[in-house]
Amino acid sequence: MSHDSYADQYIRGILNSVKTIAVVGVSPNTIRPSYFAFKYLLERGYRMIPVNPGHAGRELLGQTVYAKLADIPEPIDMVDVFRSSEHALGIVQEAFALKPLPKVIWMQLGVRNDEAARLAEANGIKVVMNRCPKIEYGRLSSEIAWMGVNTRTISAKKAPLPTRGIQRLSLDRPTLSGGATGAATRAQSKTGS
């Protein structure tokens, strides 16, 4: 499949189906983007597993940090790659050793490795590249619109209320594609973080 753009329902399907996410390369530094994403997804109810060899054995937001994917003692639905593009292939190869196999390999905003993607897809693993699951969760639930961000969705359906928390919106919102323009798409492909 093409990885230049993704249908909203593909992304929503992934975020709605995965429960356990291993984040490779997450930083314990509280101002780093990887920490932001980890904390947000943890607050949204995902089982989050930090992977960072420099911090193995310590805890990050109450979750035990592992040195590598193979050390995680439970099944993982999704591997979120917070490493630069050239490391993605190695991480995908590590993921192949897991039993059961993860369902999704997600490479962060700015991370793209087409060889790693082909290898994963050939083995039945879904792939997302150059996107952030926090931003996509915020966009498809429309929480991110509180920051004035163009969610590129529209809907005349009332979203279900999340069962817990305040200032939270549901991911299960039926939407049509909204104001996706050439400009926004070009911009998205150029992001550098």
Binding site: Q9, P33, V149, A156, K158, S177, G178, A184
Partner: protein, 429 residues
């Protein structure tokens, strides 16, 4: 993979009604509620910390964000084809907020000489007090922009259709200059509105609006907007520390690294709006949102009426000239056909053979036109810039910005065009 029924891109009129809005998740209210509140309760201490640290999405205090205003921000961003929007208390405030995120004291920017008089004042005086120095250039001579760019230049600023003279700027050419100089191009798109022109398509990196004008459209609310196109690479060098360096205001966050292609909008909110304070009232956001729903219908009518009035004025014996880019033969007609083929807006100027005194007489004689200092209202408006909006400028600046002593500016409303013309006819008699 792509389901064509859900993935097709909606048209402009659909976005003007729906973008940003949805039925209220709690009450089912279909119109966007007015969240007239200063503040929002936290779930717990940790939630508060996440909000203050920009680690999660949500509302803290209406100076920094408000759910009604957020709908407006997303809507204008969607209409312009940008990644995010940031609403402000006025168009002027939008400019302060945007430049605050680009400029350090001693920096420069290049601006088109043909601008709204208020912007000329803001750049010449208020901005100079901040140490932000403007270099003026002539939009009819691109080489003047190139000459005005120095190593200290941090941005190029222009209006797409310039107020009051009906100048159509060659945004594509300006964008090429901006890219060559590695500075963002800022376009004030107030007079065109995104219905007629989306300058991001031609390379604008930041779009500014006075929502007070056609977007709100009913002359009832002041407001402004900054739209982030998401196109500029803030981290290419060290020239934009608000975006590319750890911010002490936010315990070391690097905006571009953290927020990617909507980092400029977040910087405008977190670093400028939070600390400078010109937030838009949620009630104004509601009124402006309601206005935007009919933007395509209104602008079409505004343009039809304006063309009819401009044609009529061109044939009148007391009129020396009419500057409306929609008229064949106008010096900007070719650019208008390229950039605004649906219509050249409804704000334009004309010259009276009788000069300054004839201008004063005309604004006194009209009965349907309102004599006031605004544009982009449902009502037809008239002003004599030399004696009002542009009076603080020197005579030379007045002429340079298209507001000489003989000039009258019209903002043609959406009344019946025969009534608009009849009023001008009796007032000129």
């Amino acid at each position: 993979m792509i389901d064509r029924t859900t993935e097709r891109t909606p048209g402009f009129a659909t976005l003007a009604i729906h973008a940003g809005a949805q039925p209220d998740p709690t009450t089912g209210a279909r119109a966007t509620p007015i969240y007239q509140t200063t503040s929002y309760v936290f779930e717990d201490v940790d939630h508060a910390a996440s909000l203050f640290g920009l680690q999660t999405f949500g509302n803290i205090y209406t100076r920094v964000g408000n759910p009604t205003t957020a709908v407006l921000e997303e809507r204008v961003a969607a209409l312009e084809g940008g990644t995010a929007g940031l609403a402000t208390a006025s168009g002027h405030a939008a400019q302060v907020v945007a430049f605050h995120c680009l400029m350090q004291p001693g920096d420069e920017f290049v601006a088109s000489r043909k601008l709204y008089g208020g912007s000329i004042n803001q750049f010449n005086h208020a901005f100079k007090n901040f140490g932000w120095n403007v270099n003026w250039a002539d939009p009819d001579d691109m080489s003047s922009f190139e000459k005005a760019i120095t190593p200290k230049t941090k941005a190029i600023f222009t209006e797409s259709i310039a107020n009051p003279g009906g100048v159509v700027c060659d945004i594509e050419a300006m964008s090429l200059l901006a890219k060559k100089a590695h500075v963002p191009l800022i376009v004030d798109n107030t007079l065109a509105t995104p219905y007629l022109w989306t300058p991001i398509e031609q390379g604008a990196d930041i779009v500014i609006h006075s929502l007070t004008k056609f977007l709100g459209g009913h002359g009832n609310s002041i407001g402004g907007m900054v739209v982030d196109a998401g196109t500029f690479d803030w981290s290419r060098d060290d020239r934009y520390p608000m975006l590319s360096k750890p911010r002490p205001e936010y315990h070391g966050i690097v905006m571009h690294e953290t927020f990617g292609n909507f980092a400029f909008a977040v910087a405008c909110r977190a670093l400028a709006l939070r600390d400078i304070g010109p937030a838009l009232s949620p009630f104004n956001s509601f009124l402006i949102l309601t206005g935007i729903e009919t933007l395509p219908l209104r602008i079409r009518r505004h343009c039809d009426n304006a063309l009819a009035v401009a044609q009529w004025l061109s044939g009148h014996k007391k009129i020396a000239w009419v500057s409306y880019p929609g008229l064949p033969g106008d010096r900007y007609h070719k650019l208008a056909r390229k950039y605004v083929p649906k219509g050249a807006g409804s704000v334009f100027t004309f010259g009276l053979k009788g000069g300054y005194d004839a201008g004063i007489k005309l604004v006194s004689n009209v009965k349907l036109f309102s004599h006031l200092a605004n544009i982009g209202d449902t009502r037809s408006l008239i002003i004599h810039p030399a004696s009002t909006t542009h009076r603080q400028l020197t005579d030379e600046q007045k002429v340079a910005s298209g507001a000489g002593p003989d000039v009258v500016r019209l903002s043609i409303g959406i009344e019946d065009k025969d009534d608009i013309i009849a009023d001008l006819e009796q007032a000129l008699a």
